[in-house]
Every structure is written in structure tokens, then in C-alpha cells.
């Protein structure tokens, strides 16, 4: 057993501050273990979300030494000996209490995405290579770290006009589903504001599931929007044919 020094945000919607703690740690522990240790031995009302403790449910998102991370997948031995570990709630969402934030906005955005709609008369047999594309995005565990880090949401708070990387990936999973027959490009262009993304790839960097959100979801979706609404040849063609 050794000790580490931690600073953990304590507060609620009215305000708060970082508090200092010394925590006993053992081999192999992750940041979430240290938080659990704090709850059990020092401050039982410390709020944080968690479920699986195995990187599969995406509940324990926080900012550890400034980086958006899953606490359950962040090993304490990643940090230098004697380094203070500072744990803050996700900045992009309103604080409920301590490390728990109000992520309900994400659930509202999700509701506005038209659901999977199979093409009429579709053939339900398809190959793995067709499944692969949709499956990459379906790995998403909804930790919302990509939303947290995206500057359009984090710095500019465009929650009313921008859906964020999580939902571009979700729409991509539907658009690239081999059987889905809907076209969601108008939604992407208008309510979901995909044009606001300037491809800084921050979302891809923080994704604990290593989903290539920018390259495989956002860029292809942007291309579909451009193709449909901003392609000069297409505009001309549409005018000529009266579409």
C-alpha cells in the first residue's frame, strides 16, 4: 500500500471547488478505484457515476489531469510518482453534484434522430464487410467524452444547433446500415449543424473505443451533405429537371 495525493471537484449547480485528499492505493488500481476508496473511507457522499468498471458502459467519464477519460480505464501507474491526480467533472455539461453532470441533453438529441427504417423488400442477407462499417460506430458506449471535448459544444456551447460527434457517429451507423432506407442528410445539415465541425479530430483522440469518428463518420456524412446540397452540377441538374 502506498499513498497518492488527489484533488477532486466537490460542488453542485450553485458552485464548488477542488478538495484535497490522500488516498491509499494498491497495485493495478485505476482512478475509479481511488474514488471508490474515498467514498468508502473518507467521504461517502462523493457523487460519481459508474457501472461496469470495465470500459463497457461509459458511465464514469470525467476529466483526469485535464484529459477527458473513463476513470475505470485510467491506471494510477500512468502518472509519475508523487504527481497529484486532479479529477474534474466533464466541463461541457452542467454539474449536478461533484463528478456527476447532467447529460440529459444528449438523450434529447438522440430522440430526434429518425430510427432505423429498413428498405421495403430489402434482402436481409448481407456479408460481414457490409456489417463492418455500421459495427464500428455501434461500438460506441455513450460515454459522451467526444461531446465533452468537442470545442463547438465545449467552448461555444452550440447545443441548440449542433448534435456533436456522438450523434454524427450514430447517424453514420444508420446511414451505413446495409438495410436502412432513410436519408438523414437534411437533418445533418440543418438541425444537427454538421457544417460547424471543422475536423480538428479531438473527438477521435478521446474515444475510449478507438472509433475513427472524424474520418469514418463525420467526413463521409459531410460529403453526403455537400453532395446533396452544394454540388454545383447537382444544383444545375436539379434546376433543369425541376426537382
Amino acid at each position: 500500500m502506498s499513498k497518492i495525493h488527489m484533488r477532486v471537484y466537490r460542488g453542485n449547480s450553485e458552485g464548488g471547488q477542488l478538495k484535497d485528499y490522500d488516498v491509499e492505493v494498491a497495485e493495478g488500481m485505476v482512478v475509479l478505484d481511488a474514488i471508490h476508496n474515498l467514498q468508502a473511507t473518507q467521504t461517502s457522499d462523493l457523487a460519481c457515476r459508474w457501472n461496469c468498471k470495465a470500459g463497457k458502459c461509459g458511465s464514469c467519464s470525467a476529466e483526469v489531469n485535464g484529459k477527458p477519460r473513463l476513470m475505470c480505464m485510467t491506471r494510477l501507474n500512468e502518472f509519475a510518482e508523487g504527481e497529484t491526480i486532479t479529477v474534474m467533472p466533464m466541463k461541457t455539461f452542467p454539474i449536478m453534484k461533484d463528478l456527476a453532470t447532467d447529460v440529459s441533453w444528449n438523450y434529447e438529441v438522440n430522440k430526434r434522430i429518425p430510427p432505423f427504417t429498413p428498405r421495403e423488400g430489402a434482402d436481409w442477407h448481407w456479408e460481414q464487410r457490409d456489417a463492418d462499417r455500421a459495427q464500428e460506430f455501434r461500438k460506441c458506449i455513450e460515454c459522451f467524452l467526444c461531446q465533452d471535448t468537442c470545442h463547438v459544444l465545449r467552448e461555444h456551447d452550440k447545443k441548440t444547433s449542433f448534435a456533436g460527434p456522438r450523434f454524427f457517429a450514430r447517424i453514420a451507423s444508420l446511414e451505413m446500415h446495409p438495410i436502412d432506407g432513410l436519408d438523414r442528410t437534411e437533418l445533418l445539415k440543418d438541425q444537427h449543424g454538421i457544417g460547424l465541425c471543422n475536423i480538428t479530430r479531438c473527438c477521435t483522440e478521446v474515444c475510449p473505443e478507438s472509433i475513427r469518428i472524424t474520418d469514418n463518420a463525420i467526413i463521409p456524412m459531410k460529403e453526403r451533405v455537400v453532395d446533396k446540397y452544394y454540388d454545383p452540377l447537382r444544383i444545375l441538374w436539379n434546376k433543369m429537371t425541376g426537382k
Partner: protein, 626 residues
């Protein structure tokens, strides 16, 4: 003190938003009922996301010999005939439709490699043929996301981060539920004509477990307190392959899919020990030598040959979990365990690094990140971990209704489907098969009943109970009691049980109950985990007691219930189930007859080779088996 509570009114209230709860809510809503779903976490985070290997259904997309009758028979043999046969039959018949339905709702299962583009299936313990539809090793996530996306467009009200503390009744029928929002601590009343409990399992009762914080047995305790009967609570599954090192991840699940993809179990001498542990019920069905098992592996797994033409039998690592877990334990006890008290699970020497990363991506990731182990290069260390409760709320197999009118149960929360031991993959299919049935019948019940009356004066008493930890000054924190409960269960009602240990466990539980009366919570009701644990502990103590009493009553060994003082199947218990109910302030334990497979069906299954009479006799304690 009367608290300012929020109030809602529904036809059907579903408690728990894992696979069973979501599927039930979708069904109830589709039937035209005003439906709400309550969950302790955020939507989509339920323990179902942890399911890895797959969903079992006789789709026969890879092995055309598969059928519902084979799945049914495998489930009964796996459960050592402790199953309610009707549930096993319904499950085996309906699972393929439920899987195809998930696909229609947008699930993207892995595909077959034969060019036909069907749903691919894989091998799992105790299943005769390849039978588990899957998405890599994250099948549970696929299931929950598919149901979640379907659910949000089904007009269901979802109340997230809300814990139900008590079920309310109107005479002998269910009338509603009372609880609190975890975020604000504010009390909430749900009036409902029918209620489905689908709250999952009990893993948090044990110190080494594969479960999330939510698995505190709420549904069992809520139903019990409301007067419903529980059954088979002694049947607890210890999954053979949990992580053992480092200590912070001890118990974390390693999918059976590792063995399905060719992984083998070895002791510290490098021996593949499973060949020594084939019980009579599986003799003749599994390879008896390493050569035979390797030949099967080469042909079926590596070369992808159709099993129909392969004469070798599959490796004994693929027997049911109860058998494998006991074998592991025996090796560890005999001093042949691994460095940190487990055994070795080796996939590195069997498959290429590329295959491992493709087939078992989250296992690769989990070991790399949490244990600094590269499973493509070295074996994993594994040991038993508390995983699943086969027992639960006693239900009508056709309707999922409990013994309380209007109260239904589905998924891990209900008893009967899996008998004394669940086969891998049968849980996800259980969720959607019985989730649907529960939703359907809860809706039918609601439609035919009037709005129940709730005596709101009982809410004052509940408020007092819920507030008590804040009023208790200077008591201990809930986490200390939780830790001692886990130790008591591990020691007294763990994988191996005996009379004196179970008696000790019951004594420990009684003293924990006294300590819980004086538990203190600091701070206020705003998102306060210490307070939440204090309230959850009431449920955990009820479940622990039911489990230990059930285990004490069943004087034999069967599946997930192993007794060192009664080591064999007993014919006195083979056709009995242990039922637990509330009688005043006491817990009453009774034995009931377990309905048996009708003679005609049994004879037909024997005639067609699905069951073997000598195996049946052994499991029924009518012929020696151990």
C-alpha cells in the same frame, strides 16, 4: 413528516431497464398501455451491456442439425433438470424469433462466412451446436442499444436514475411503487395497474463478482416484501473465468467466447486438466484426449469445416459453467493453480494475434489496459467469480406473473428458466423472450383492471425509513456494512456450502441487520452514494438470507449449488424446488413440487436422441453420478 413527492400514473410500470425491462416496456407500449420505465442508472448503462459472448437461439444458420428440441434439451441438462420445463420450452421455441426481431430493429450481428450472409453463431459451453448469435464480444451492448433506440421511439416515459424503495398494494393486488430520484433525493410515487420487476441480479452480495453496483437484488426484495414468493434462491452461478489479477479487477468477467474461439484451460504444470473432470452427464459428448480436442479445434475452428462431417468431439473446456468452475476450484485447491490463485486460460498459443483482436477485441483491450497483459502473447489468469442468480421471483411460465396479482418478473429477476445452472448465451435470449411475454401479459392485465387505490398514509412510514440514515447520528457508514456482507456471503454461502457455514452466514446476516438499523449517512439527499448504499443494503440482506436459507434447505449438490456435506444429486430433492415467502416478520422456507417434463415429451426426446435415459436417472438421483 409528509414529504413533497412527485406523482405519476401509468398502466404498466417497468422497474429496471436492462434487456428484459426494455423489451417488456416496448411490448406493453405497443399493446396501447401508458408505460413507464424506471432505472437506477442512465438509460443504456444497465448490466446487460456487460454481456459479451452472444445470444443463444437455435437459428441453425451454421449447423443445420440444430433445433428448438436440442436447445431445450441442452438447457435442461445444463440446468440439471432444476428448470421449470415450460419456461425452457417457451425459451427454446421463441428465441430465434426474438433474435430475428432484434435484427429487424437494427441490430447488426456478425455474419456467416459461407457466402450466404446469415447471422453467424458460435460455440458456447453446454450447447451441442454452434448457437450464439454475436457481435464480436460486445453482444450485450448491441442488444441494449437496439432496444434503447427502439424504445425511445415507442412512446415510453423513461425515469432515469430513480430507485424504487417499496411496492405498494391495494388489498392483494399491486398498486404502485414508491422511491426516490437519485440525483435530487426527491421522493416519487408511481401509481400503476401492473408492475414488472426486471432489476437483474445479486452479484454485489459477494466480494468477488462480475456485476455492477446496480446488482443489489432489488427486484427480489421488493417482490418478497410485497408478498410474492421467491424460488430456487440457492442456485447461484459462479462463472469459471473471472480476472484474478491485479486485485482491483478481481472478478471482472472474461467471456466464455475465449473458449468458444479455441482457448484452453491449463494448470501450473501446463496440463489441460479439463479431460479429468467430465461428469457422467457429458460423457461421450466431449473429447476425451488432447489429440481429439486438438483435431476438432483444427478442423472446426481453424479450418472452419462443417461440424456435421467432423468425427472428433468438442473440447471439455466447452462444458457448462458449473462443471468448469468446480474443475478450476479443484485444481487450485490441489496446489496446481497460477501465481495469483487462478488457473491459466490460453488463447495466445491457439490463434493468431490478428484473429484474437478481431474476435475478442474487448478482452484484448481489457487485459492490455487493466492488467498489462497481452493476451495474444501470454495466457490469462482466471478464477471463479459470482456472476448470475438462477433463482428469483416465482412466476407463471406462460405469463411471467408472480404470486401477487399484477406483479410480473422477467430476466434474471425471475426463477425457473435456467434451473440450477444457466448456459452461456441463454441469458440474453431469456431477456427478450420473457421480457416480451411479461410486457404482453402485464399490458393485458392492466387493460382488464380498474385503477387501484393507494393508501397514501403508508408513504409517511416509507419516508421515515428512507430518511433514517440521516437521522442516525454517529453510526457507521454503509460501505463498512457492505464490505462485511460481501465477506460473510463469500465465506458462508460461496461456491462451496455446508451446514455449519450456512448457519454461520445466517448469524452474520442477522448481526449485519442490526448494524444496518444504526447506519449513518453524511451530507444531504442530493446524489449521495453513501445514502443509496444504505438503502440498497436492506434488499441485499433480504436476498442474502433467502439465498442462505435456500442453500441450507437443499441437502444435495446440483449445478450452482454445491455442498461439501451432500456431494451428490439426491432423489429427495430432484423434483423439488425451495420456495421462500414472507410470513409476518419471518422468512418461511417450504419445498414444493417442481413441475416435470410430461412423460410423452420426455419419451419422444429420448427416442430421438436428445436426452439419454441413464443421464436423466443420474440427475434425478436414481443412479450414481459422481
Amino acid at each position: 413528516m409528509s414529504e413533497n413527492y412527485q406523482s405519476f400514473e401509468y398502466d404498466v410500470l417497468v422497474i429496471g431497464a436492462g434487456g428484459a425491462g426494455l423489451r417488456a416496456a416496448i411490448e406493453a407500449s405497443a399493446a396501447g398501455c401508458k408505460t413507464a420505465l424506471v432505472c437506477k442508472s442512465l438509460l443504456g448503462k444497465a448490466h446487460t451491456v456487460m454481456a459479451e459472448g452472444g445470444i443463444a437461439a437455435a437459428l441453425a444458420t451454421v449447423d443445420s442439425r440444430d433445433s428448438w428440441r436440442q436447445h431445450f434439451s441442452d438447457t435442461l441438462i445444463g440446468g440439471n433438470f432444476g428448470n421449470h420445463w415450460e419456461m425452457a420450452e417457451i425459451h427454446a421455441k421463441q428465441a430465434p424469433d426474438r433474435v430475428r426481431e432484434l435484427e429487424k430493429w437494427g441490430a447488426v450481428f456478425d455474419r456467416t462466412t459461407d457466402g450466404k450472409g446469415n447471422i453467424n453463431v458460435r460455440h458456447f459451453g453446454g450447447h451441442t451446436y454452434k448457437r450464439l448469435a454475436h457481435v464480436g464480444d460486445r453482444t450485450g451492448l448491441e442488444l441494449i442499444r437496439t432496444l434503447q433506440d427502439k424504445g425511445v421511439h415507442s412512446g415510453i416515459d423513461v425515469h432515469m436514475e430513480c430507485t424504487i424503495y417499496a411496492l405498494l398494494k391495494d388489498g392483494d393486488r399491486i398498486a404502485g411503487a414508491y422511491g426516490y430520484f437519485r440525483e435530487t433525493g426527491r421522493p416519487v410515487l408511481f401509481k400503476a395497474k401492473s408492475i414488472i420487476v426486471s432489476t437483474g441480479g445479486i452479484g454485489k452480495l459477494y466480494s468477488v463478482n462480475s456485476n455492477s453496483w446496480e446488482c443489489t437484488g432489488d427486484g427480489f426484495a421488493l417482490a418478497y416484501l410485497a408478498g410474492a414468493e421467491l424460488a430456487d434462491m440457492e442456485y447461484v452461478q459462479f462463472h469459471p473465468t473471472g480476472m484474478v489479477w491485479p486485485p482491483s479487477v478481481r472478478g471482472l468477467l472474461i467471456t466464455e467466447g475465449v473458449r468458444g474461439e479455441g482457448g484452453v484451460l491449463k494448470n501450473n504444470k501446463g496440463e489441460r486438466f479439463m479431460f479429468k473432470y467430465i461428469p457422467p452427464k457429458y460423457q461421450g459428448k466431449y473429447a476425451e484426449t488432447e489429440e481429439e480436442a486438438n483435431a476438432w479445434f483444427q478442423k472446426v475452428v481453424v479450418e472452419g469445416q462443417k461440424e456435421e462431417g467432423v468425427k472428433e468431439r468438442k473440447p471439455p473446456e466447452l462444458m457448462s459453467r458449473d462443471v468448469v468452475a468446480r474443475a478450476l476450484w479443484a485444481e487450485i485447491k490441489a496446489g496446481r493453480g497460477s501465481e495469483h490463485g487462478g488457473v491459466y486460460l490460453d488463447i495466445a498459443s491457439r490463434r493468431s494475434a490478428e484473429d484474437i483482436k478481431k474476435k475478442l477485441p474487448s478482452m484484448y483491450h481489457q487485459f492490455k489496459q487493466l492488467a498489462d497483459v497481452d493476451i495474444t502473447k501470454v495466457p490469462m489468469e482466471v478464477g471463479p467469480t459470482c456472476h448470475y442468480m438462477m433463482g428469483g421471483v416465482k412466476v407463471n411460465p406462460q405469463t411471467q406473473e408472480s404470486t401477487v396479482k399484477g406483479l410480473f418478473a422477467a430476466g434474471e429477476c425471475s426463477a425457473g428458466m435456467h434451473g440450477s445452472n444457466r448456459l452461456g448465451g441463454n441469458s440474453l435470449s431469456d431477456l427478450v423472450v420473457f421480457g416480451k411475454l411479461a410486457g404482453e401479459h402485464a399490458a393485458a392485465y392492466a387493460k382488464n383492471s380498474s385503477v387501484p387505490k393507494i393508501d397514501e398514509s403508508v408513504l409517511d412510514g416509507l419516508n421515515k425509513e428512507m430518511n433514517k440514515p440521516f437521522e442516525n447520528q454517529g453510526g457507521e457508514v454503509s460501505y463498512a456494512i457492505l464490505a462485511d456482507l460481501q465477506t460473510a456471503m463469500e465465506k458462508g454461502a460461496g461456491m462451496y456450502r455446508e451446514e455449519s457455514l450456512l448457519e454461520g452466514c445466517l448469524k452474520d446476516l442477522a448481526s449485519l441487520k442490526e448494524r444496518l438499523k444504526k447506519v449513518s449517512a453524511e451530507g444531504n439527499r442530493l446524489f449521495n452514494p453513501g445514502w443509496h448504499v444504505a438503502l440498497d443494503l436492506r434488499n441485499m440482506l433480504i436476498v442474502g438470507e433467502a439465498l442462505a436459507r435456500g442453500a441450507k434447505e437443499r441437502k444435495e449438490s446440483r449445478g450452482g449449488h454445491t455442498r461439501t456435506d451432500y456431494t451428490s444429486y439426491s432423489k429427495d430433492f430432484a423434483k423439488k424446488r425451495v420456495v421462500i415467502r414472507k410470513k409476518g416478520e419471518e422468512m418461511e422456507v417450504v419445498q414444493e413440487d417442481l413441475p416435470q417434463v410430461p412423460a410423452e415429451l420426455e419419451a419422444e426426446l429420448i427416442k430421438d436422441g436428445f436426452l439419454r435415459l441413464e443421464v436423466l436417472k443420474q440427475i434425478r438421483g436414481e443412479a450414481p453420478a459422481h
